[in-house]
């Protein structure tokens, strides 16, 4: 780390002065050691609800697990294959999936606006998922028809990208991941728990993408105009493994990374 800028960044570290040495006699360590080590866990890391519950039991704290991540009826109408794929957003949803993203300026005010436009829309069961892109920014939007006629229940997410979206493109037979992450959706009456989404750019020869799910099955991603997108119920439900099918019928193994 020879760069003066990097050395200067060190001074911004909020934890430089924190002192928290671990001791063999720490009660928190003792509480962990009292727990059963071989509790069956699902294979992926990041199951804090289970972990929290175990820790609470170990320390004698009553805990009712009301995890939003594992609702039994989560996204009951979700389908492994999208029923519709296009770049057109349904009537009424265009304004709900905001066409303008807002970012902080030097003072922290959300005054910098960057427009985004739909690049891919897909439908799985009752759920419409929209990916939008703009100058160095993307957004995603998951919606279902609201309980009142003409309304939508919507959750959205947006991020700036280090490089303009068009400057980094995959090879003709490859995939580029712009986003891969989990969220919960509990807004409105249709709230159904955790979902994992991913999208990015697809090479010119890619006509289909099949992604592996953590239950051992697969789901078909949407591919349209050089973009691909997929989402599935559950936390960390996309394993990151994918297979791209090319125009000539051949396949390529691909990895959905976490940017």
């Amino acid at each position: 780390m020879h760069s003066p800028v990097m050395k200067a960044v060190v001074e911004l570290d909020p934890a430089r002065a924190l002192r928290a040495p671990g001791s063999p006699n720490d009660p928190e360590l003792a509480a962990i050691l009292r727990t059963e080590r071989r509790v069956p866990l699902r294979t992926r890391a990041g199951r804090p609800v289970l972990v929290s519950a175990a820790l609470a039991v170990a320390t004698g704290i009553a805990l009712v697990v009301t995890s939003p991540w594992s609702t039994p009826t989560a996204f009951a109408t979700w389908t492994r294959v999208p029923s519709q794929v296009s770049s057109v957003v349904p009537v009424g949803l265009a304004t709900e999936c905001e066409p303008m993203t807002r970012w902080p300026d030097d003072t922290g005010q959300l005054s910098v606006e960057v427009p985004v436009q739909p690049v891919l829309t897909e439908v799985r069961g009752d759920y419409t998922y929209v990916v939008q892109a703009g100058e160095g920014v993307w957004s995603e939007c998951l919606a279902t028809v609201g309980t009142t006629a003409g309304t939508w229940d919507v959750v959205q997410n947006a991020s700036l990208t280090p490089e303009p979206l068009d400057t980094v493109l995959p090879a003709a037979d490859g995939l580029l991941t712009l986003h891969h992450g989990t969220t919960s959706w509990t807004s409105g009456n249709a709230g159904a728990g955790a979902l994992t989404s991913a999208f990015g750019r697809a090479g010119a020869d890619v006509v289909a993408v099949e992604v592996a799910l953590d239950d051992g099955t697969t789901a078909r991603a949407s591919v349209s105009d050089g973009w691909w997108a997929v989402w599935a119920p559950g936390e960390l439900s996309l394993t990151g493994e994918a297979t791209a099918t090319l125009q000539d019928g051949s396949t390529r193994t691909a990895t959905i990374e976490t940017p």
């Binding site: 200067a8 960044v9 671990g22 990374e257």
Partner: protein, 174 residues
């Protein structure tokens, strides 16, 4: 590994890494949540002790990052992992070239980076990881991480240059 050996190993991991993990979490969460997340991180290590590599620190950071990300989610909203910055200036002795970087401008520039850019820089500058270790925290190839670090560092310099050009004198402190 029997339970006695496992307890010994976790204790060694705790003693060797507790402070580093606590700092890692404190950089990303409010102080009130740090202890809980650190405990959850080591509980995962306890349950997956056979998976913990010899170089445990990046592995523990990766687990802590997952725990933080899950805690940061809220109803109906996505939230990016956010990196906090120190509220108070830190007294340090710096060579002349580093002193030329104004702290206020640096803070402004830092806040203009994306969450992803801040993450890759912080893993190296704050968490003290090598490129290979930081890549493991994010589940990336080292080469991919290096590219992202280079881009992020370049973007930070560009933003700093832009800020310095726009407000060259008034914002600089003696």
């Amino acid at each position: 590994m029997d339970d006695g050996d496992a307890a010994d190993r976790l204790t060694r991991l705790w003693v060797a890494n507790h402070e580093d993990v606590a700092r890692f979490v404190a950089r990303r969460l409010d102080a009130a949540l740090v202890d809980d997340v650190v405990s959850e991180t080591f509980l995962v290590a306890w349950r997956r002790l056979d998976d913990v590599p010899e170089d445990a620190r990046p592995w523990l950071f990766g687990v802590a990052r997952n725990v933080i990300a899950t805690r940061s989610r809220s109803e109906g909203r996505w939230r990016a992992l956010r990196l906090r910055i120190a509220r108070q200036p830190v007294e340090v002795t710096r060579p002349e070239d580093e002193a030329a970087i104004d702290r206020i401008e640096l803070e402004q520039a830092w806040l203009r980076l994306t969450a992803g850019e801040r993450e890759v820089i912080a893993l190296v500058a704050w968490d003290g990881l090598t490129t290979e270790q930081a890549a493991r925290v994010l589940g990336l190839r080292a080469s991919t991480f290096s590219v992202r670090l280079t881009r992020a560092r370049r973007h930070l310099v560009e933003v700093l240059d832009a800020l310095a050009t726009r407000q060259p004198t008034p914002s600089r402190r003696p």
